[in-house]
């Protein structure tokens, strides 16, 4: 009873609270990093050096008037933000955060649920996220959101193909679909898969940028052309939901990249003797460090690269990333057969 019901509930609460807190501070970090790149300070007034800025902003968003356009499809307009946020949150259910722990005599597994189709679960949950974006744009009954949502869904679907193909190479290396199994297989093989599969790693990250609508692939919300993108008509709390979902999706991509390509909660260099002291740092700290490393790269990329044009984006996806992913898959298969 305790092991099957209470422990998962505790873990779900911890993970959701941690993710939402991390998202709030991601927004602050984003503004700070952008500011540093542009030789500014960023938010400084609210709290110590601006630490409470996003808390204040979130409160403001929740207190603002929630406007539904008169001609909107009210029901779908309300459901759409929820359909974006929920898939991104439940993806964390299968991501291994740490090795199995024993606290107060209770056994805590490293993740909420170790299903043996973990990777497929992540892909399928990710494919549900596109609904909220399409419906949000459609239900606003306005042309800019509709254009934004069409762009966004076309982009999501195109880049999903390349990303999924890179995941297949990881499965070929590890021989399992369970995410905990993939981490353990990286421990057993002595190599993180990011170093064995640099091409897959690159394609995954590029596709991840596109799937989360981040720069340089942030066409769905190109402010200059679309007045904001698929969420133009949203305000107040529902807009906050879209905002939260975007950052949660970035965290999902980073956490999955960490798990698949950077060894999850494993310490670096476990076989180098004089670095053995790194093993005293708990696994979840390593996991967080690596995930935030990826998130930092997201921000860094945004500050560095200009936005692609729409036809360039599609050409990159279909004519470069997908063939490259297929080639990588074939080469991996050949190496597996021959060696």
């Amino acid at each position: 009873m305790v092991e099957t019901l209470i422990v998962p509930l505790i873990m779900i609460v911890i993970v959701i609270v941690a993710v939402l807190t991390a998202v709030i501070y991601m927004v602050l970090l984003e503004r700070k990093v952008q500011a540093w790149v542009q030789v500014r300070y960023g938010p400084m007034r609210v709290g110590y050096r601006g630490l409470l800025q996003t808390v204040a902003d979130t409160l403001k968003l929740f207190l603002k008037e929630d406007i539904t356009p008169a001609r909107a499809d009210k029901w779908v307009f309300t459901v759409a933000p929820i359909m974006v946020l929920v898939p991104s949150l439940i993806a964390f259910a299968v991501i291994p955060l740490s090795r199995d722990l024993t606290l107060f005599g209770l056994k805590f597994p490293g993740q909420i649920a170790d299903v043996n189709v973990g990777l497929l679960y992540i892909i399928s949950v990710g494919s549900m996220g596109v609904y909220g974006i399409i419906l949000g744009g459609w239900s606003s009954n306005s042309k800019f959101p509709l254009l934004g949502s069409l762009r966004s869904s076309a982009q999501l679907i195109s880049y999903e193909i390349a990303v999924t193909m890179t995941l297949v190479t990881v499965i070929m290396l590890s021989g399992t679909l369970s995410l905990a199994g993939i981490v353990k297989s990286q421990l057993a093989q002595g190599w993180w898969f990011g170093f064995m599969q640099p091409v897959a790693f690159f394609i995954y990250f590029a596709g991840g940028l596109a799937e989360t609508n981040r720069a340089p692939f942030d066409l769905p919300e190109a402010e200059q052309e679309l007045v904001g993108g698929f969420h133009t008509e949203y305000s107040g709390m529902r807009f906050a939901f879209f905002f939260l979902a975007e950052y949660t999706n970035m965290m999902v991509i980073s956490a999955v990249a960490t798990t698949l390509f950077m060894g999850g909660w494993l310490q670096p260099f476990p076989n180098v003797l004089w670095l053995g002291f790194l093993g005293y740092i708990p696994g979840w700290v390593w996991f967080l460090l690596k995930t935030f490393g990826f998130l930092y790269v997201f921000l860094w990329v945004r500050a560095t690269f200009p936005r692609y044009r729409y036809d360039q984006l599609m050409r990159l996806g279909w004519k470069w990333l997908i063939p490259l992913a297929i080639l990588n898959l074939v080469v991996t298969g050949l190496v597996k057969v021959l060696v």
């Binding site: 609904y131 399409i134 459609w138």
Partner: protein, 166 residues
């Protein structure tokens, strides 16, 4: 006991969403209810310990095919007025005939006694991805390849139909 309760809840949800699919006024609402319906079917698969099938159900049907439906419904204007000279009850009568046919079939199945559960062949290990893969690539290789050739033909056909000049 708990499993039976869960089953009846999920089954009720499936039927309820199914009714909502055909009674919803807007086609987009219908598709949304269909998504919910498919997710509940996936829950049924999980209860049968067919996790792989459940995930594929979500990925292919809920996440793939229905997105396509949604695009079609959104981009095609469905608000055309019905053609005036048609008999408005024609479709209703057709539906009644089809429904009657299904009930006759169901009655026939109960009469013959095919409602016994199928024999489970072999043991189902929790890692059923491997088992499905092995079965697909050994015993059912030819149907599998035929299906993939069919999909390829459909894909090429779609490209040729959509492009005016190649």
């Amino acid at each position: 006991m708990a499993e039976a309760v869960a089953f009846y809840i999920v089954a009720a949800l499936i039927l309820g969403f199914g009714v909502l699919v055909i009674t919803a006024k807007s086609a987009v609402h219908s598709i949304l209810f269909l998504v919910a319906d498919f997710l509940c079917v996936a829950a049924l698969y999980v209860m049968l310990e067919a996790q792989f099938l459940a995930v594929i159900q979500v990925m292919v049907y809920a996440g793939g095919i229905l997105v396509l439906y949604l695009f079609v419904v959104m981009l095609v204007n469905l608000k055309r007025p019905p053609e005036a000279h048609r008999d408005p009850h024609r479709l209703g009568r057709l539906g009644a005939v089809l429904a009657a046919a299904i009930f006759v079939e169901l009655a026939a199945i109960f009469a013959v006694g095919w409602t016994k559960p199928a024999e489970v062949q072999g043991t189902l290990s929790p890692n059923n991805v491997e088992q499905i893969g092995r079965a697909l690539y050994t015993e059912y290789l030819i149907p599998f390849e035929l299906a993939s050739v069919l999909l390829l033909v459909a894909m090429i056909g779609a490209i040729i139909l959509a492009k005016r000049e190649l």
